[in-house]
């Protein structure tokens, strides 16, 4: 649905996007991650057709953005970073304008407006002028505009910015259900959001795509400094000796035993290797009373920081 092939963007002599290639298929939500100034918005704008790529090819549902801009625009719903709203219009008249501009048949406009206003929970503010709306509502009017006309491709530049936790959850639900049979590219700063709703992640930094993969594979790819934490009833020194004897455990930090029941917590530093936790469990359980074991996974934040080179 969305495909970028070696896309670059240059402003004057400065190239800010370098040879970006990735694609988003139908029925897929792809998260677009990167720090501020990494080139997310510029890339989004090139896909949406607001700015043209200096070189490379942007294809939307089989239309080349370079010369079939108009045809491609019919397939796209786009929510820019700042929701593009006309403050003096009411929510309804704004959405009506967008519906007409998107060539939605006149007879279908009222039902289409009702559909998006319901999906984005705008019923309470339908006839209010946009300048009177709170940030959360403005964001949702922008989203309603993007999903008007059921476009095949949805581009969302930080759609949950400015929403409260309840609204964030509802908006995610809208995006998730939309992503079931459309192609969605979602740029965001909020990492848990990506893990929750995206099938794949594209990480961009400094105008370059660093990785495109599923959240799980990205996590396991950087799983190098894993830690296994065990809760056990044991004598401290003996436990340490046992742990360090296990192949794969490089170090162990053991807490002071609890006064009441003698429970200790041990954090084992292990090499990245499959099933190390079961090896530890087996060894410890035969000699002591094992109460719990937990393997620490690198979260997406670590993955992200690793890729953008800050860790």
């Amino acid at each position: 649905m969305i495909s970028l092939e070696n896309v670059s963007k240059r402003y004057g002599s400065k190239e800010i996007i370098h040879n970006v290639s990735f694609n988003v298929n139908k029925g897929e939500i792809v998260g677009f991650l990167g720090p501020n100034g990494a080139g997310k918005t510029t890339t989004m704008r090139m896909i949406a057709g607001f700015t043209a790529a200096t070189s490379g090819k942007v294809m939307i549902a089989g239309h080349d953005m370079a010369d079939q801009n108009y045809e491609a625009a019919k397939k796209i719903g786009y929510l820019p970073e700042h929701p593009p709203l006309y403050d003096v219009l009411t929510v309804r008249s704004y959405l009506k304008f967008c519906a007409e501009a998107k060539h939605i048949a006149k007879a279908k406009i009222p039902s289409e407006l009702d559909r998006v206003m319901q999906a984005c929970q705008l019923d309470a503010v339908v006839n209010r002028e946009i300048f009177k709306l709170s940030k959360g509502y403005r964001q949702r009017v922008g989203l309603a505009q993007a999903i008007l006309g059921d476009p095949e491709v949805l581009l969302l530049d930080e759609p949950t910015a400015g929403l409260d936790p309840g609204q964030i959850q509802e908006t995610r639900e809208v995006i998730r259900s939309f992503g079931e049979n459309h192609a969605v590219l979602l740029s965001t700063h909020i990492l848990p959001e990506v893990t929750l709703i995206c099938k794949r992640i594209a990480i961009i930094n400094d105008g370059r795509i660093l990785a495109v993969d599923s959240p799980e594979s990205l996590q396991s790819a950087v799983a190098q400094s894993n830690k296994v934490t065990i809760t056990v009833i044991a004598e401290k020194d003996e436990l340490k000796k046992t742990l360090l004897a296990i192949d794969g455990v490089t170090d162990a930090e053991i807490s002071e035993p609890s006064q009441s029941n003698g429970v200790v917590k041990a954090v084992c530093h292990v090499v990245a290797e499959g099933r190390i936790e079961s090896k530890i469990a087996k060894e410890i359980a035969t000699r002591f009373e094992l109460l719990g074991l937990e393997k620490e996974q690198p979260n997406l934040e670590n993955v992200f920081l690793r890729y953008v080179g800050k860790n």
């Binding site: 949406a48 593009p84 007409e100 501009a101």
Partner: protein
């Protein structure tokens, strides 16, 4: 064409949901009313000739206030990103906006027709000259709007858009005066040809010349085409 109509309706809604349109129309009508009464009592003749002349210069001061927001406000409000990514062609945006501003202007012009009631009631003015004068006024207004729209597309600051439009319109208004300084016949007739005043004066005198009609229409077309290419180039 549906793009033009969507943009057009949005422009009208934008004008009338904010106080600017009412304010501009009020200022223009106040000025026109003043000139009309003053001229009637000064000359004592039932003719719109001088009033139309005054309305022309008044129009030139008012038009930038109508057109300055056309594109500038889209840039500063970031809504240009919406317009340029909706399935609307750049020319449709330009024409839709032009028609929106033109409607405000035509409404304004229509309202000045109230002056015609006492004129025809108590006097015996030349009907054809009045009609051709108004035709000239409308063409002049549309040309000014097209120029104002073009300058509005060059900056995101509405004030700068207006400040760019004024001198250009005044230049077109006064360029005819330069002909007395020109040595060559070509330059003399060229500055005469570019002059809004010269063409407009023909209409006021009841002279509908195809050359003048073509001049105003060509000015509109050139401004709108330049505007469209500028929008395309922004990509």
């Amino acid at each position: 064409m549906s793009g033009v109509s969507a943009i057009y309706k949005k422009e009208l809604a934008n004008y009338f949901n904010a106080p600017i349109a009412y304010f501009i129309i009020a200022v223009f009508l106040l000025g026109t009313g003043y000139f009309f009464i003053y001229n009637m009592f000064m000359t004592g003749s039932a003719s719109l000739e001088i009033t139309l002349q005054n309305m022309g210069i008044l129009l030139i001061t008012v038009v930038p206030a109508i057109t300055m927001r056309l594109f500038s406000s889209e840039y500063s409000g970031k809504t240009i990103e919406l317009l340029m990514t909706l399935p609307i062609r750049p020319w449709e945006i330009v024409v839709g906006k032009f028609l929106g501003a033109a409607s405000i202007f035509l409404l304004m012009t229509l309202a000045t027709a109230i002056n015609l009631i006492p004129l025809f009631l108590y006097g015996n003015p030349d009907l054809l000259a009045t009609i051709s004068g108004y035709l000239g006024f409308v063409l002049l207004g549309l040309a000014c709007i097209a120029i104002g729209e073009l300058f509005s597309s060059l900056t995101q600051n509405q004030i700068i858009a207006a400040l760019l439009t004024w001198p250009v319109l005044l230049g077109f208004w006064f360029v005819g005066h330069f002909k007395v300084f020109q040595q060559t016949g070509f330059l003399r007739s060229f500055s005469d040809y570019l002059s809004f005043t010269g063409h407009y004066a023909n209409f006021i005198q009841g002279l509908v010349r195809s050359e003048s009609i073509v001049f105003f229409l060509a000015t509109i077309a050139v401004a709108l085409i330049l505007n469209t290419s500028y929008l395309k180039g922004r990509r």
